[in-house]
């Protein structure tokens, strides 16, 4: 809070005229003088004007002078307070934008925050609204006022009854203006006193439960429903059991009201509500789970529901999907299968390891697509008996400019939690041979025979479960686990095979990708970004946004950044195994772009993709698609940094549709939803590179060169040529340090592939465009800008190292 205040003060003087806060004394005057005594002030002012010449005349008697002077003094004094109370402008004071949602969960049911239903279902939509979810175990007491100072809302989804004090605490929070959302009613207490406490909390939010539950619902009819209902699935004809819910307050919106009749008794129940104090949705009325397959779908529109319940109005939403006005594209490879011999026919003559195949087929031919490669330390460590070919391929890979140096651990832990409280003896017991060799061989032969004779014994989905059941805690367990070696040792091993000066940037979690807090902290201390896990997908087999992960996974005080999409292993182990399965990533890529851009594109695969032709073809398809798509390719560590920026970003509402944005790190895009009638006001904004509309959203590109930026909005009259300032619309590269000039601008650029870009807000006419390194011009052109003020160009230059772009008005001969 203090930090907010200091910065606001700085910007008050420098950028936007923000009115200082009035004292209580002044408020008193505003209250009395402005409405009640304004007439008196007016009279005093007129009298003063009349008295001044008279008081200054020489030929008036002394008595009259004294009288008039006294009257003058009274008039002046009566004007003074009024003058004090006048405000220079009616702008409200700067206020921090609260983005934190405190998810209160019950560790008796859901041991860790990342195992909660809130994390699985609700956190992604909340992140999309720009909100940050933090977790609090209801069994660990209740957070105090200081902890709640920046909290926008509280969210619960209990299954068990929470401690009775929760309801009292919750009620106090609602009274303090913290919106509270109750999902489900599984945790309702059964005792009368506790139930009454619960109802007191609910009453503060705007609803109350009678305590009754309708379970024979075939006589129930839908009295009212709005657009919030039926988001991914319509209401079931057999309505789920529902409680009788009444509402309190004019601000309560009932989104689904059911009417149940029992004889003469008519009962109405609002099973989904929102209010200015929070919201509620009854069990079975917000998420549907298909009983046979366990597949889930949202019944309510979670974006609209949370937006209403948490009161998310027009505000800049930190966005991790977009950069330079285009969708982010990034790729990374986990090193699993690095030294496996490829079965691809073209490499049959001379046995070739999978990593070499990947280098030749998927990395070297695509210099325009960056990729982070995480080698497993032990895979290139002679101590583990690995071949020289693996080390040489690592050197060849890291030599390429589009390849980022990353690591995928040292010994490849499958279950990170096992190593939080490591027990070497236990690991040896788990990994030690429990069969003599002949028994193992015989056993394996018997198993194969049994499978051949009784194929029905091979259960569907055995492939997935087998891996979990049979996995040892880590792939290389020859030596005792050492966290320092696992983190620092792993990145050092990767750097040792990288060219001098090329440092490791990223830690890619292995196995189940659920690292413990200490492991994440260790990567942070080394200055590494971290990534993996999440397994986001949205396709025919998983047809819901409920299968899209949030941006990160909480682990104590740390955050693990999830990958953008599920990896190839997830797809190829679908069904009974689908080598071509990674092709289906395309469905997720499309479904997360329209109607909302929910995720960046992340082509995330493993080195073992080099073993089989179908897997290779799957990855190649996505790389070829990326060349055709309007995307901004960036390094995977860059994405992880952007995701970190999402959580660090702080915003202040400055009033008059403008916001100060700070501490955003690498995050360079904010988004406004429902922004069809809005545009950036470049005259009031600072540090804004450009804007682009997609659907109903406005994506605003921020200038990396400025730490603190101000984003101001204005009504959009629909004429793009009206925007006077040159600005970025979209581009394949990333841009920074834009300097607008009388006619044109300069900007620094960096990126992969040819520099496709479109600029707007330019005056019509001819422009000279030059792209320069520090020493020479590498590309130039003359371009014509029409009445729409747009300049579209493709600079054929290598921007892996930063370039300067200059766009300047030119004469007829093309001279600037």
């Amino acid at each position: 809070m203090r930090a907010h205040g200091r910065v606001a003060g700085k910007y008050r003087r420098a950028i936007v005229p923000v009115r200082r806060c009035r004292s209580n004394f002044e408020h008193l005057f505003i209250f009395w003088i402005e409405p009640v005594l304004s007439a008196l002030i007016h009279i005093s002012w007129l009298r003063l004007l009349a008295l001044l010449p008279a008081a200054t005349r020489c030929d008036v008697p002394l008595r009259m002078v004294l009288t008039r002077s006294a009257l003058l003094l009274v008039c002046v004094l009566s004007l003074a307070p009024g003058a004090m109370a006048q405000s220079p402008a009616d702008t409200p004071p700067a206020e921090p934008v609260r983005r934190e949602i405190l998810a209160v969960y019950d560790s008796r049911e859901e041991p860790r925050p990342d195992q909660t239903r809130i994390h699985r279902f609700a956190e992604m939509p909340l992140n999309h609204l720009g909100l940050v979810v933090t977790y609090w175990d209801v069994n660990a007491g209740f957070p105090g006022a200081e902890r709640m100072a920046n909290v926008r809302g509280v969210l619960t989804w209990f299954r068990r009854t929470p401690p009775p004090l929760f309801y009292l605490w919750g009620r106090e929070q609602v009274r303090q203006g913290i919106r509270t959302v109750i999902l489900g009613d599984g945790g309702l207490p059964s005792g009368n006193t506790a139930f009454a406490d619960a109802n007191r909390l609910f009453a503060e939010i705007g609803f109350g439960l009678s305590g009754g539950l309708v379970d024979l619902t075939y006589g129930t009819r839908i009295l009212h429903r709005d657009a919030l209902i039926g988001f991914e699935r319509p209401l079931d004809p057999v309505l789920p059991a529902f409680p009788i819910v009444g509402t309190f307050g004019a601000d309560v919106s009932s989104h689904l009201v059911l009417e149940h009749r029992e004889g003469d008794l008519v009962l109405a129940s609002s099973v989904v509500i929102t209010s200015s104090r929070g919201g509620y949705a009854a069990n079975g009325y917000f998420v549907y789970e298909e009983p046979g397959t366990g597949r889930t779908k949202w019944i309510i529109d979670p974006f609209a529901f949370f937006q209403k319940a948490f009161g998310v109005e027009t505000m800049p939403i930190p966005d991790v999907t977009t950069l330079s006005g285009r969708r982010i594209w990034f790729s990374h490879i986990d090193g699993d299968g690095w030294n496996n011999v490829s079965r691809v026919e073209a490499y049959r003559e001379k046995p070739t390891i999978a990593a070499t195949v990947i280098l030749r087929e998927l990395i070297a031919p695509y210099p325009d697509l960056p990729v982070a490669i995480g080698v497993i330390g032990a895979d290139i460590d002679e101590k583990y008996g690995t071949p020289e070919a693996g080390r040489q391929t690592a050197r060849d890979l890291y030599l390429l400019p589009q390849v980022e140096v990353a690591t995928h651990s040292y010994t490849h832990p499958y279950q990170w939690s096992f190593f939080e409280n490591y027990d070497r003896a236990l690991e040896e017991r788990l990994t030690g041979p429990d069969e003599t060799e002949w028994k193992a061989v015989l056993g394996e032969r018997m198993r194969r025979l049994a499978k051949r004779l009784f194929p029905g014994l091979t259960r569907k989905g055995e492939a997935e479960s087998k891996i979990v059941e049979d996995d040892p805690p880590r792939a290389y367990s020859d030596f005792p686990f050492d966290l320092d070696q696992e983190i620092r040792g792993a990145i050092t091993a990767a750097e040792e095979v990288a060219p001098e000066g090329k440092h490791g940037t990223l830690y890619l979690w292995s196995g189940g990708a659920e690292p413990f807090e200490g492991a994440i902290a260790r990567t942070r201390r080394l200055g590494l970004r971290n990534l993996n896990g999440g397994d986001s997908r949205f396709d025919a087999d998983y047809p819901s946004i409920s299968y899209l992960s949030p941006i990160s996974r909480p682990a104590g005080a740390e955050r693990q950044i999830y990958a953008g999409n599920a990896n190839d292993y997830i797809y190829i182990t679908d069904g009974n195994g689908r080598d071509h399965g990674f092709l289906h990533l395309e469905a997720t890529v499309n479904a997360t772009e329209t109607p909302r851009r929910l995720k960046p594109i992340n082509v995330y695969y493993h080195m073992f993709a080099g073993e089989r032709a179908a897997q290779l073809a799957g990855v190649r398809h996505h790389l070829d698609s990326a060349r055709q798509a309007l995307v901004t390719p960036i390094g995977a560590s860059h994405y992880a940094a952007i995701a970190d920026g999402f959580f660090a970003t702080q915003m202040m509402a400055l009033g008059d549709s403008s916001w100060l944005i700070q501490n955003r790190g690498a995050l360079q895009t904010v988004r406004f939803d429902d922004a069809a009638g809005l545009t950036i006001d470049f005259t009031r904004s600072t540090g804004v590179l450009g804007q682009r509309k997609k659907g109903g959203s406005l994506y605003v590109a921020l200038d990396e060169a400025q730490d603190d930026v101000v984003v101001a909005l204005a009504p959009d009259n629909g004429d793009s040529a009206d925007i006077s300032a040159p600005h970025l619309i979209e581009g394949r590269w990333t841009f920074r340090d834009m300097r607008r000039q009388d006619c044109g601008f300069t900007v620094m650029a960096k990126g992969y592939g040819t520099g496709q870009m479109t600029w707007g807000g330019l005056r019509p006419g001819a422009y000279h465009v030059a792209v320069r390194t520090t020493s020479e011009t590498v590309w130039e052109d003359i371009a014509e800008v029409g009445d729409d003020g747009r300049l579209a160009l493709t600079a054929d230059a290598d921007a892996v190292n930063p370039l300067e772009i200059e766009v300047a008005c030119s004469d007829e001969n093309g001279r600037p």
Partner: protein, 311 residues
């Protein structure tokens, strides 16, 4: 001499014949290529045979697998579609086509093919896949049609019969609901209450009160036993059922309940100890009516999605 020459000639002829006989045939050639992992060559050989109209089942399936191994989805789909068309009466071929559509995530085609498969050879497994899809997609009319077919074929599961009954009751088709819920009553675990309470209500609504009361009396014993295991505070289905019975016809309900009680006690104590007269003794029968009248829970446990938990 002549004999020697004849021997040599005949040996040569035999050797030649044997050599010719040992040259691998077309079929043997592609199987060897597949075995050796020379997939490109095997693919060419099999495609040539396929175009020539030689479409043995194993050769076609190998051709399909090879296309899939190169991620050539369109070609694989073409082969599998033609295979299913060639064996249109064979449920196994149609099932393979459905599996292929599932593998390539062509959901509409997969569902269409599963429907064809069900028409060709109705099975619980196929129905289960279709029902899961219909329910997730919210295509309830198709779900209802399939459930009706399952009911007619007597292969409906208890949960599905209950759901069909409730769907039909919600739509006002009380006779349809009665049929489905009666089936549910026949096959479901005797402790299950929701479908039976609905059946009772449906029977009363269509005027068959006697049947409703007799059925209710037959359930009450099981539900009393089940109620012993309920947690404190949960509403008891047996009590609720008794209330519903009494509301329909108090005299008959009392008589039937007494008979049920007597039978129960007789079974417990033997014929000699059976009481001569019956005194209606239903727990909480006179308890206060709860705030929402009869519309109360029977206390069946639900998960967070509102589904009844399996016991």
């Amino acid at each position: 001499m002549f004999r020697h020459i004849a021997l040599i000639v005949s040996l040569t002829a035999v050797a030649l014949a044997a050599g010719v006989a040992m040259v691998p045939g077309e079929r043997e050639q592609w199987t060897m290529l597949v075995r050796d992992g020379r997939n490109q060559e095997a693919l060419k050989a099999l495609e040539t045979r396929y175009r020539a109209g030689k479409r043995e089942v194993d050769a076609v399936l190998h051709l399909y697998k090879l296309y899939m191994s190169f991620a050539e989805i369109e070609q694989a789909t073409r082969i599998m579609q033609e295979f299913a068309a060639d064996h249109g009466d064979d449920p196994a071929a149609v099932a393979l086509l459905a599996k292929h559509y599932g593998d390539v995530q062509d959901k509409p085609a997969q569902i269409r093919t599963l429907e064809e498969l069900f028409d060709l050879s109705p099975s619980v497994q196929t129905a289960r896949e279709l029902l899961a899809h219909y329910r997730l997609e919210g295509t309830f009319d198709r779900e209802e049609t399939l459930l009706r077919t399952l009911l007619a074929n007597q292969i409906i599961a208890p949960n599905d019969a209950e759901r069909l009954g409730l769907m039909l009751a919600a739509r006002g088709d009380l006779y349809g609901a009665r049929e489905a819920l009666t089936r549910f009553d026949e096959i479901a675990n005797p402790e299950r209450s929701i479908g039976r309470l609905a059946l009772f209500d449906v029977l009363v609504q269509i005027g068959d009160k006697t049947a409703a009361l007799h059925k209710a009396a037959s359930w009450i014993g099981y539900w009393r036993k089940a109620s012993n295991h309920r947690t404190a505070g949960a509403d008891i289905p047996s009590v609720r059922l008794v209330r519903m019975m009494m509301a329909v016809d108090e005299a008959t309900a009392s008589r039937l309940l007494c008979e049920a009680q007597r039978t129960e006690m007789t079974a417990r104590a033997g014929d000699e100890a059976a009481p001569a007269a019956c005194e209606l003794n239903v727990p909480r029968l006179t308890a206060e009516v709860d705030p929402i009248g009869r519309a109360v829970s029977n206390g069946e446990p639900h998960d967070e999605f509102g589904r009844r938990r399996r016991r």
